[in-house]
Amino acid sequence: MKQELTGYPLTLDGPDRPMIRFADVSKSYGDLQVLDRLNLDVAEGEMVTIIGPSGSGKTTVLRMLMTLETIDEGVIYVDGNPLTHMPKGDLLVPADRRHLRRERANIGMCFQHFNLFPHMTALENCTEGPIHVLGLSRDAARERAEELLEMVGLIDKRDEYPARLSGGQKQRVAIARALAMRPKVMLFDEVTSALDPEVTGEVTEVIRKLVGKHNLTMLMVTHQMGFARDISDRICFFHNGRIEEQGPPSELFGNPQSERTQQFLSAVNEAI
């Protein structure tokens, strides 16, 4: 990452500032350019879905927001503050660990392979962060976790270990676990891709419930076009590390402008 950045604001202010902003973000692994000067704003409360062929940088976008990947160039802002960088005088310098820890508290993430902690029950998975990171009392954390497990329909499984849950149930616990941290932004990284087709519905139903709640901003990567079309405010089609085309679902699916988008969508439709 470049040492010091100039030409970018230290914070984003004003009533119409986005919840998430990618400003000229690039990333490559060796010769492979994963993201190529990406610019993307997501408004507070907005649900944005990223679609595109594999290797187009979709997942990388989410992983950068969760600070699981570093960026090579540009800067990412979340809730007005720089995430990848921190202000030092008039400049932005790469974020240190403390800054990352503070800023990523705004963000929650659900993974393709759930990543539940196998040695903790569903409830313990959901109370670990609230107790040890947010400093909630055991009772308060438990109450919060039970409320969320209720919401995802798994209150009766609270004392089960993940090994005894089905894939769909695991992913719902994972959603509850992430929400228990009260993030402002939720990231869903192909959360139904590892599931049997007949149980994807129970996970998408939960995500559907979250839309428009608590002003939660959501960014999702998925291959389920029908679901994306249903619930997204905006769809971004990624190709070669750039946004090839974006717009409301009806426009992007109904009347795609770019040839790449048309090719991708017709390939997806044929697969179904």
Partner: protein, 221 residues
Amino acid sequence: MTYPEFISAHGPRLLDGTLVTIQQTILAALLAVLIALTFGMMKISPLRPVRALATVYIEIFRGTSLLVQLYWIFFVLPLFGLTIDKFTAGFVAVGMNLGAYGAEVVRGAIQSVPRGQWEAGVALNLSPARRMWRIILPQALVIMLPAWGNLMIEVLKGTALVAMISVADLMFAARQINGTTYLSAQVFGTALVIYYVLARFGITPFMRWLERFVARRMGRV
């Protein structure tokens, strides 16, 4: 002298020695675990000097003879003003030696905990220390326990060397009895059986139980 006569004459001394061997084994094992956890985690530290220190320790203690290390701790350290009684020197040498082997076991186990578990720890914003302690180590424990079963038997066998600095363990007792009676076959045969019984009916069942216990706590059963 028949074997029963041999046992009634020398059994008590062998028993005393066996008790010392058990004490040495337990203390050395605890020390080895402590050292292995410390240096195993240092080995994957993001800080280069910390990693280097762990590598030096592991290489020195794995790469040189346990007997020489024992002599160093008991005979050479006093020359630098650090005198340790022989009982302590015994289990410390064995523990430090096997701890170096254990450090590699710990490192390997920690690194084979799936990446997703580390990432989930980041996503929940757990501090690195808490992520290691609450998320990674418990899972690494399950992975490393079978290898520890082997190491614990090595610890037991390693303690036989403490006889060389006159710790009155089983081997020491056996050598003394042999020196006065010349009944080599009986005395070393008996010692052999005792070491085997300790490993086979002491350590192995204990480690199996521990594996099952941990698996249960991990929700695997």
